[in-house]
Symmetry: C2
Subunit: 727 residues, 2 copies
């Protein structure tokens, strides 16, 4: 518990030449006149790029210029001609609004797509621009999409975890096939957002010594001085969180000081490192050091001033001399060399460790899980007596996790509730912890204790998934309600097309006694509306198998599987894993039905019971449709949709689900749903309290059918009936 | 920036008697035999209460018993017979699952509703229970509803801010009409959640010396030892965040030590205080110190063991002797005395400061804003040329904030963008900061710089609103997209019925260049589905006025007003503030229309332009409905709804909104909407890219109308048409 020493790099006996343990840094620091030219060119170029369309974020990018030179010229391991070379260093721009910083260095070091023409498309109307307002993963050399502040820190933690995990799994003495560093650039804002604070705590706990946070400490945010809302001792806080801390006092010009700090961090063995670098936002501008420099162009006059201040021609725009390109000339050959050395190492590794190398190759290709179907239990092996779908989930997910080494499964401190533990699972932990407190784990472990940090869980998982497509499949778990904390991260996973499985248990009011704070009502509406996300709510074990199959097949899409706390009836005679993959399917068919009941997830039981009661008590014929996933259903051909929902029939369709009904109006004419928050009662009593009870539902549906018989089905068009709404 | 000293209470020269500056603590500590009896009784009772229905959270409540005695017997200022006495101390149970802790002390000190019978209703099927699974604000003596971890810390920060603010506004020398302390109980989890970490940082910044975090440090969460996921130096981290830190080593029995720590904290002048108290979860049980003690009953055998261990009869259940009640006998008379002293003080204050006292009385009653309408600009005073609705919002909100003293308005670091600053606004700040760095503010200030902490902004605002109904009206602001970070807090505000206004600017893809990370697509679906929340999207300045009027009238409901970044056409000839309050209304009427276009918020322009184009180019008649708020519309009589939407007409209804369409299917047959995340382009170009362009929309609607003419309106029933969906 002793706080770490706060070290100032100036006291460290580090010399730049040869300081890098892998011999990578073999260039001397450029002469300072050259440095100076590059910094000036870079800063004027940023000002010009924002000025052309009168917008963008120039200030921090200008302030960070020397950091960029240190990274791209001296320290980072990357290959401009093959930006996705596997063992490259990962760079995350958590302060994503400074994207011009990254785009411009990519241009200068020779990334193929980042032509000058492209660079100038920043903030233009070009729909084929590679320079969006924040970095986006689909573009060359961008590791993760950033912009929502704080999340980049968590992404970087995930990238660094991936390295640690792969290294522990595949490296052998003399064969460090994975040993890259993750560099994450942050601004003042990232240190305020809770998601970053959660992730920082975890990185310190895990002692991720391959992770470096580079703090662009300009003490300015949109509102003005950071002192307006943050006066904490950030270095002491980082040290208390288990990080090494290095100060750099002149981040504007002291490239050598920054390089020394970066290398000290890279070579550090015991902890992640936080480098606190003082910079001046909008350096050179008359708004320098002011919030005005943050998110607006400077105006033509000030841009001219900036150029004069830096001794450049104010009439020359977008000016980059050959000397500047020449300064970065070594980037490409060095990249080729690094990559070629790595390829040779992997070749030798293959001869020395053929089995391991074969598996490693599958991981690099991202194809490890192609045979996942053989681990999914067959229908006949699933339970037939009432079973909570969180238990069914364990029966299906645990064999997958046990056998597929790319599964990294974690929970936000709900191991006893979510059933994600497989036999002989090993925790992902810093191995030294084992000695200290007897915890069984090391970096090769694939079970993650996230703690009570749902947002970091989702956002770090984005980093794990983004390390390399398919190399790691992150599986998260928590109560469904607390995926509202994780929502910003889940969204970024969907936006980036990262395959992940989010296992959300205790859905709906059936979760019971914990009460309204724990009973999700509106959250499913968010996840059903979210592009590129599969929200799947299976009704029994067979449907849970279907949900996992759909999630495994969705290689560019995260899935959220929504499960019950309580035991659910099993319907082996009706339920179908194939049906789940179509989003909805006929559960119980009935010719010339009076009504179609749509049953969803844990509330399927009410649909089936109501159908039965309608027949026995009211002589009415009800068919039942199971509807676990709206997005999968939307992808079906219109003919299939019409078959399942009988759009053209004269019988009404009623959805039964203990959520807000929003969105179901597309498929149903009426609903038994929730119109308020829940209530603290045992699950069965909670259902009854809100009218989820076949004895209560059946007469309402009978009345609806009678109305339709009288007035015709047209009476329901545009007048969705909330059958259990109480004003 | 120097870290605070970490003080151990054992080194402090504090004596209990007379240590309290307001003379409140005038009882001696009870004899230790009595203490012992109470602790044993309490612990066995908790075990019994969980055992009766085989569920609940016994372990931490048992571990915290001595803390409870210190609080309710010795330190807290409260009145059992009038739990809502204005100047009471506020107590927040952030680890809300330990609710039996609070319920049981409420019972012991004599809260009227908390009878023994009620206490035993914990986890029962009684629908009239006052003992839900987590504390709920509607019940006697509960200040805020807790359960979602970490948020209670933020609520407590809000409650403490409210005290500071009211004290700075109304207290006079000799007249401390508001001087209560806020006590917040937390477990290990609350220190991991990002929202708490954000709030902790703010409380340290604001030097809220009236706030005390009491850390039940039992080092156990659901997964096991906290070491599994958290090994930071929490005391050092709190000190670095600007908090005093006090350690209590024996939290299980050392009531005197706890009292001394609490009083030291209460009397502390400069900072909030963090008291780190070591306890044993499930003390007395065979699961003591183990995660098993957290969230399950112990089983009959262990409950008997516990009783034996504590020297009690294992056959006796729910046993509380008269001696135990007697131990707390002073709570009621002391409460009466405190309240009566305060009433007398306020009376004298009224004589000394009649004007101020009158205003103070309005604050206490929560009726300060009843005359708000006089500050809302008239239609004729609103802009008629294109204006961003975030600007319109400023025109309406700023006079309200300037004149209504219960407005506390803040922003998550977007002052230059959200237009929430009024003339001569004063920041809410620690006044010492002014001296230190020239920032203009003190505790009487009503403008809050939240920093980049959206979740804390919303959750602290819940605390501000919960201080006393109507006393403070919190107004938050940020970009709409980042209300996804705030969603857990917004939800808890809606669940608790707390009036608040959330001002969300930069909605829809119109926000432009910042790209898909900043363009909300699915988020409105969440807020429209969320019970007891008004999500209002006004189309122009007049509608923005209507949105504020609706929000001001909704005294038990938070509102989220969703506004554009970009300039919007103004429609004084069509738009209506009264219409907004009905949720939807006819914008442009047209007899025998071929189609009804539903325009929403910033996309109204496309509805109006399309209607015009349909007339001029296709000879079709389109009526336009403006639809700013679904929940307000749902509250209208069916006749009104039919009038507006013409449900029974043969003309289709088409909604035009640049969001996911989920939920609009209730009102529309077809939609022009978003089916993917957005794109980084200037606003106008982004709209065009996704087909929001009258020239593109009109022919699609023409085709739809032709279909309907051919096939009849029935063809659309249950087949919602996504008119701009691209697979």
């Amino acid at each position: 518990m002793a706080p770490s020493a706060v070290e100032s790099v100036s006291h460290l006996p580090v010399t730049v030449k040869g300081a890098s343990s892998d011999g990578f840094l073999d260039v001397k620091l450029a002469a300072s006149a050259q440095d100076d030219l590059v910094l000036k060119t870079f800063r004027c170029l940023i000002a010009d790029l924002c000025e052309q369309f009168k917008g963008g974020h120039p200030g921090s990018a200008m302030g960070m210029a020397a950091i960029g030179v240190a990274l791209w010229k001296y320290v980072m391991k990357y290959s401009p001609e093959n930006p996705s070379y596997f063992n490259r260093d990962r760079f995350v721009l958590s302060n994503g609004h400074t994207c011009l910083f990254q785009y411009t260095f990519h241009h200068l070091v020779g990334y193929k797509n980042m032509t000058f023409d492209q660079l100038k498309s920043y903030h233009s109307s070009r729909t084929d621009s590679f320079c969006p307002g924040h970095p986006e993963i689909e573009h060359e050399g961008i590791e993760v999409t950033t912009g929502p502040l704080g999340q980049g820190v968590a992404n970087a933690v995930g990238l660094a975890m991936a390295t640690k995990h792969l290294a522990a799994t595949y490296n052998k003495p003399g064969f460090d096939v994975v040993n890259n560093t993750t560099w994450c650039m942050i601004g003042d804002a990232c240190l305020q957002e809770g998601v970053a604070l959660e992730a920082i705590s975890l990185a310190g706990h895990w002692k991720l010594n391959n992770l470096v946070l580079i703090y662009d400490n300009n003490q300015i945010t949109c509102d003005g001085s950071v002192d307006l809302c943050n006066t904490e001792d950030v270095n002491a806080k980082m040290a208390a969180s288990g990080w090494n801390v290095i100060d750099v006092m002149d981040g504007n010009y002291d490239i050598e000081g920054i390089v020394r700090a970066l290398l000290t961090a890279k070579n550090n063995k015991d902890k992640p490192t936080f480098i606190n670098i003082r910079t001046l936002i909008g350096i050179g501008s008359k708004s320098a050091g002011d919030a005005k420099a943050h998110g607006a162009a400077f105006g033509a006059e000030d841009v001219a001033n900036i150029k004069r201040k830096f001794g450049r021609d104010p009439e020359q725009h977008f000016s980059v001399s050959d000397e500047v390109y020449d300064y970065f000339r070594e980037a490409k050959p060095r990249g080729r060399e690094i990559e070629s050395e790595w390829n040779q190492l992997v070749l030798k590794y293959g001869k020395e460790y053929p089995e391991l190398a074969k598996e490693f190759a599958l991981r690099v290709e991202g194809n490890l899980t192609d045979d996942f179907m053989k681990y999914i239990p067959k229908k006949e092996d699933l339970p037939t007596t009432p079973t909570a779908s969180r238990k069914s989930s364990g029966l299906i997910c645990n064999p997958l996790a046990q056998n597929l080494k790319n599964f990294m499964v974690g929970t936000a401190d709900l191991s006893p509730s979510v059933n994600m533990i497989w036999k002989d699972k090993v925790d992902f932990q810093n191995p030294d912890l084992k000695t200290a407190c007897g915890i069984n784990g090391d970096y090769s472990g694939r079970y993650i204790h996230w703690g009570i940090r749902e947002h970091a869980m989702a956002s770090i998982s984005n980093g794990l998934a983004a390390f390399n497509k398919g190399t790691i499949l992150p599986v998260t778990s928590s109560f469904f309600m607390f995926y509202i904390y994780a929502a910003p991260g889940i969204r970024m996973g969907a936006l980036q097309g990262l395959q992940q499985i989010h296992v959300a248990t205790h859905d709906s009011i059936g979760t019971g006694e914990d009460g309204p704070t724990h009973q999700p009502i509106a959250l499913a509406s968010l996840y059903r509306a979210m592009p590129n996300l599969l929200y799947i709510r299976p009704a029994d074990s067979e449907e849970t198998a279907g949900a996992y199959i759909a999630a495994m097949k969705a290689k560019n899409t995260p899935s959220l599987i929504s499960l019950s706390r309580q035991n659910l009836e099993q319907y082996p005679q009706y339920s179908s894993r194939e049906g789940v993959q179509k989003g909805a399917y006929v559960f119980i068919e009935e010719a010339d039905a009076d009504v179609t009941l749509i049953g969803v997830g844990a509330e399927m039981v009410f649909a089936v019971q109501t159908a039965s009661l309608l027949a026995s008590k009211y002589g009415m014929k009800a068919r039942v449709v199971s509807f676990p996933c709206q997005r999968l259903f939307e992808a079906q051909p219109i003919e299939y949709k019409r078959d399942v929902l009988q759009y053209r029939s004269k019988a009404p369709r009623v959805v039964i689900e203990a959520y807000a009904v929003n969105g179901w109006e597309r498929y149903a004419d009426a609903g038994i749903s929730m119109h308020s928050f829940g209530h603290s009662l045992p699950g069965k009593a909670a259902y009854k309290y809100f009218g989820f009870d076949a004895e209560v539902i059946a007469p309402k549906i009978e009345a609806l059918v009678q109305d339709v018989r009288k007035e015709g089905i047209e009476c329901l068009r545009g007048e969705f009936r909330d059958l259990n709404f109480k004003h």
